[in-house]
């Protein structure tokens, strides 16, 4: 129990730090950030809309006020779910924009990551079990080269081949403009078609980390006494491999699963922008391009919260899988 309380406290503390970080980053710049932003917007030859200025003020708190006052106002606004107004998509509040895109990203990230995790761990376990086989050397050398290919590059190449050259799949977006957007087989198929390339871009390199991690962990657990005892017991080889060796080797990977989401998020930003996929990644990309600070920061905040939740979940799962952790030895 103590373990879970501890993890939850860490969650709250990290959440608070992330929120505060979000408050601090824009204030690291010299001068009044709001004015600075306005100046920059002006520099882009856009007319300064007082409402936009207001949006910036909302985001940054009342300028001129004492920094603590600003901080408290900021927290207060956050607490009431007010994250400010986007000025690319003025006058929509950023929460609306995120609300529209979040499911796309969650769907993409979860599917790819779960498939990647399962496939990766199985392949890694198999490679370790068949250590020094052809399959193993293919996995440990061959795949690690594939793993070095940058996400964005894979995405670009896939797009180039399948959409531009072969014209088999759509060039981008999450669904066809012509679709009814009603729940139907056609619409589902349409969504699948659009998601295929982005998902593939992540899935080509995604599992490789798991494969390597699992392989290396399992090379160690295969030498552990408990595995050797399982062999001595004359259990069926798959039982030895899965229930003894892999069962222990997977523990670090479960913790790693949540952590890896952070890395995947980076990939998602890149992939979504390339495929013009209507998720948070593309929204973030646009926000960066347009210097839409409220949108940018809120997305960052949401992402961090997402990561934290995922971590909390992973801690919970590790607690379930590993009785030693439950006992609260830290």
């Amino acid at each position: 129990m103590r373990y879970f309380i501890r993890r939850f406290l860490f969650f709250l503390l990290t959440l608070w730090t992330a929120v505060t970080l979000n408050f601090i980053i824009p204030r690291l710049e010299p001068g009044d950030p709001a004015e600075d932003i306005v100046r920059r917007l002006a520099g882009q030859n856009k007319p300064i809309d007082p409402a936009q200025l207001h949006a910036i003020r909302l985001m940054l708190g009342i300028p001129g006020g004492n920094i603590f006052q600003q901080y408290i106002d900021y927290l207060n606004l956050l607490f009431h779910g007010q994250f400010g107004v986007s000025y690319t998509y003025f006058p929509y509040p950023v929460t609306t924009l995120i609300g529209q895109s979040i499911m796309w990203t969650v769907g993409l990230v979860l599917t790819t990551n779960i498939i990647g995790f399962i496939a990766g761990n199985l392949l890694g376990a198999f490679a370790a079990w068949k250590r020094n086989s052809i399959f193993d050397s293919f996995v440990s050398v061959g795949l690690s080269f594939v793993g070095t290919l940058p996400y964005m590059w894979i995405a670009l190449v896939l797009l180039f081949i399948f959409a531009f050259q072969l014209q088999l799949l759509p060039m981008g977006g999450g669904f066809s403009e012509t679709s009814t957007r009603q729940m139907s087989w056609g619409y589902t198929l349409d969504i699948m078609q659009h998601a295929l390339l982005p998902a593939l871009s992540i899935l080509i390199t995604g599992p490789i980390g798991w494969i390597m991690g699992m392989r290396n962990n399992m090379v160690q657990t295969l030498r552990e006494d408990y595995t050797r005892l399982a062999i001595a017991k004359g259990l069926k080889p798959w039982k030895v491999a899965l229930l003894y060796s892999a069962r222990n080797a997977i523990l670090p990977n479960v913790t790693g699963f949540a952590m890896s989401l952070g890395g995947i998020m980076g990939g998602v930003v890149l992939v979504e922008s390339i495929f013009n996929y209507p998720g948070m990644g593309r929204l973030f990309f646009e926000a960066v391009g347009n210097r839409d600070y409220p949108l940018m920061q809120t997305i960052l905040l949401f992402t961090i919260v997402g990561m934290l939740l995922a971590n909390l979940l992973a801690d919970f799962v590790v607690g379930l899988l590993d009785p030693r952790v439950r006992k609260g030895k830290n």
């Binding site: 129990m1 005892l229 001595a232 004359g234 009785p323």
Partner: protein, 643 residues
């Protein structure tokens, strides 16, 4: 047909990077159904490798390179995996070393029985459940513990569980590899007793692998002795006790004695085992053997029957032939004995000097607060302990793990503060020292660590390691320090010193490393040395040598020593005064001989009873030639391949 037949077995560890290591060479032995056989050897002797080879559990790069292993006539070395798998656990099972890690940490005890029993027996699930309960009861564990996870059990309990697990399918042979190493003596004793009783009742055969000849002799019917990868003796227990055939066995036996005897003496075997990357063409024991003749360095002796057993020794064989031929009995005399021995009589303890008090421990207690959830529990690690250390005298602190002996050591060195009581070093209150004070105090109080393998940083040379204390405390410059390092090395018997200076710790053997650790403790010229189990990690055959060294240094340099140990024999030999510690309380305190020979406390008696008693005939013991002259240690130039 014997149950297990091992013939001309060779096991080699071959990697690309290193020269191949011939760990087991040409080993032959048989094991009959229901027999309890011990396999003894020191680290690097190949005994565990042999055990794993029989079980076909060798880890790569280890491989059986020649010979055969037959179980009930079936050749295991060439048996297809699937057939072998069918035989496992039903025909032969195993218990690994101290089982800390041999139970799957993430599943309950029950499940670890369940899987193998379900797969290999016709019992139903509920029958299996009942059987697990029975098995646990057999090793004196309450059946309710089957719901527990391994980490919730103590080391001794895990070991019992492992034993019960090994017996789950009533195998014909159980191979136990150092099953009690690392456990407390009392627990060890109980587990061994348990094992022996079960073996008699159920009639399975046992191969007990251990470094501890004493324990093995106590429980086995027959003992196999390995040295440097070869089988050197194979003899029934009573015969081996009465008349050890091979000089190495004899040497090992010399390391044991009854601590409660009137006179106690143990011997050691100078030198160290050969490097196994080159196969010795002669007797591998020849460089250490006190009886070696020129033939020993030319030809390898074969394991041949003589007297009531078998041995691989030229000299013994000649004696045997002689005896056969002339019908005279040499055996009553036994082979010539070693002159490298350490006894109370030859110890400098006999000098009876009145040491002056250096350190006084007054009514010291230590309580730890432990927080579990919202409850705080306190544990009394040390309870109202008083004693003092005198110059030139050794105070033995005897206790099992958890007795508080290490806590006392930590308080004396100032790394921990007592909850109450006082520790006086002259006029200084040690328990009040902080920062700089502790630094200065440590010049006077030095520590000899238990594990010589972790007490020396692997990245430094011996010279660097020894120069540090000299430069820090002695305020010597580098050149002076280097000079002093040589003196120190010679003092601890590492000669010629030039050879050792430039070495790294991993190039030395265990005994040599421990000498370096001692030298480092001597460097600041301390008043007090705390020796925390300094011999427990060393091979049995060289322990007496280190004891002898400590004894000599302490008496000559008038150092007060606190000798911490779980081993009554070495405590008796080295200490002037002994304190027996049980759960933080001193239960017995007094002159070494008195405490051990006339213990008044029940706990001390228990400890004494747990020591393997080797009933050796008088002529074996009485033929020692005690020498006061410490034996010069042979310097072995070849780097250690122990790791």
């Amino acid at each position: 047909m014997a149950l297990l037949e091992v013939e001309n077995l060779d096991v080699t560890y071959a990697t690309k990077q290193r020269p191949p290591l011939f760990a087991v060479r040409n080993v032959n032995f048989e094991l009959n159904a229901g027999e309890f056989v011990g396999l003894v050897g020191e680290s690097g002797s190949g005994k565990s490798t042999l055990g794993n080879a029989i079980l076909k559990l060798l880890l790569p790069p280890g491989r059986i390179t020649a010979g055969s292993v037959r179980f009930e006539g079936k050749e295991l070395t060439t048996l297809p995996d699937e057939e072998l798998r069918q035989m496992r656990w039903r025909d032969f099972s195993t218990v690994f070393q101290s089982s800390m890690n041999s139970l799957n940490p993430v599943t309950r005890i029950e499940a670890q029985f369940q899987d193998v029993m379900a797969e290999k027996s016709d019992l139903s699930n509920s029958q299996i459940h009942d059987r697990i309960g029975e098995l646990l009861q057999m090793v004196k564990i309450d059946p309710s513990f089957m719901r527990y996870y391994p980490h919730e059990l103590s080391g001794g309990m895990k070991q019992r569980v492992a034993l019960a697990l090994a017996l789950a399918l009533k195998p014909k042979l159980v191979i136990l590899d150092e099953p009690t190493t690392g456990l407390d003596v009392l627990v060890q004793k109980e587990i061994m007793h348990n094992l022996r009783t079960l073996q008699r009742e159920q009639g399975f055969a046992v191969l007990l692998i251990s470094h501890d000849l004493g324990t093995v002799l106590e429980v086995s019917d027959r003992v196999l002795v390995m040295y440097a990868g070869e089988m050197v003796e194979d003899a029934p227990t009573h015969g081996m006790l009465k008349h050890p055939i091979h000089p190495y066995t004899h040497g090992l036996l010399g390391s044991y004695a009854d601590p409660a005897a009137e006179e106690v003496e143990i011997s050691y075997i100078p030198g160290r085992p050969p490097d196994l990357t080159r196969v010795p063409k002669a007797c591998p024991y020849a460089p250490r053997c006190p009886e070696a003749i020129p033939l020993c360095r030319q030809a390898k002796p074969q394991l041949l029957p003589m007297w009531d057993g078998k041995a691989a020794c030229h000299v013994a064989q000649m004696q045997w032939n002689d005896e056969q031929h002339n019908h005279t009995r040499h055996s009553e005399e036994g082979p010539k004995l070693l002159d490298a021995a350490f006894s109370e009589a030859t110890s400098h303890k006999a000098m009876k000097l009145e040491g002056e008090e250096v350190l006084r421990v007054e009514n010291v207690s230590k309580t730890y607060q432990r927080r579990a959830g919202f409850k705080t529990t306190s544990m009394n690690a040390v309870n109202d302990v008083s004693f003092n250390l005198r110059s030139g005298k050794v105070t033995g602190l005897v206790g099992q793990s958890g007795s508080g002996k290490t806590t006392i050591a930590r308080m004396i060195t100032g790394t921990e503060y007592p909850t109450s009581g006082a520790i006086w070093f002259g006029e200084t209150r040690v328990d009040k020292l902080k920062g700089r004070g502790i630094h200065n105090y440590r010049k006077h109080v030095q520590y000899v660590f238990q594990d010589p393998f972790s007490a020396l940083n692997p990245v430094h040379t011996i010279q660097y390691l020894l120069m540090r204390p000299l430069m820090n405390y002695g305020k010597l410059n580098a050149a002076q320090a280097r000079q002093k390092v040589r003196e120190l090395l010679e003092t601890v018997g590492l000669t010629p010193a030039e050879q050792f200076e430039t070495k790294m710790a991993h190039q030395l053997s265990g005994g040599q490393r421990q000498r370096v650790v001692v030298a480092r403790a001597l460097a600041p010229d301390p008043d007090i040395i705390i020796a925390d189990e300094p011999i427990s990690m060393l091979d049995v055959s060289i322990r007496a040598e280190i004891l002898q060294l400590l004894d000599k240094l302490v008496r000559e340099r008038k150092i007060a020593m606190l000798y911490i140990t779980h081993d009554l024999l070495s405590a008796r030999l080295l200490s002037d005064e002994i304190l027996v510690l049980n759960q933080g309380h001193v239960v017995e305190q007094g002159a070494a001989k008195t405490v051990i020979r006339q213990p008044t406390n029940e706990y001390t008696q228990l400890l004494l009873e747990a020591i393997p008693r080797l009933e050796r005939p008088d002529h074996v013991r009485a033929s020692y030639v005690p020498t006061a002259e410490p034996t010069k240690v042979q310097v072995d130039a070849s780097p250690v391949s122990e790791e």
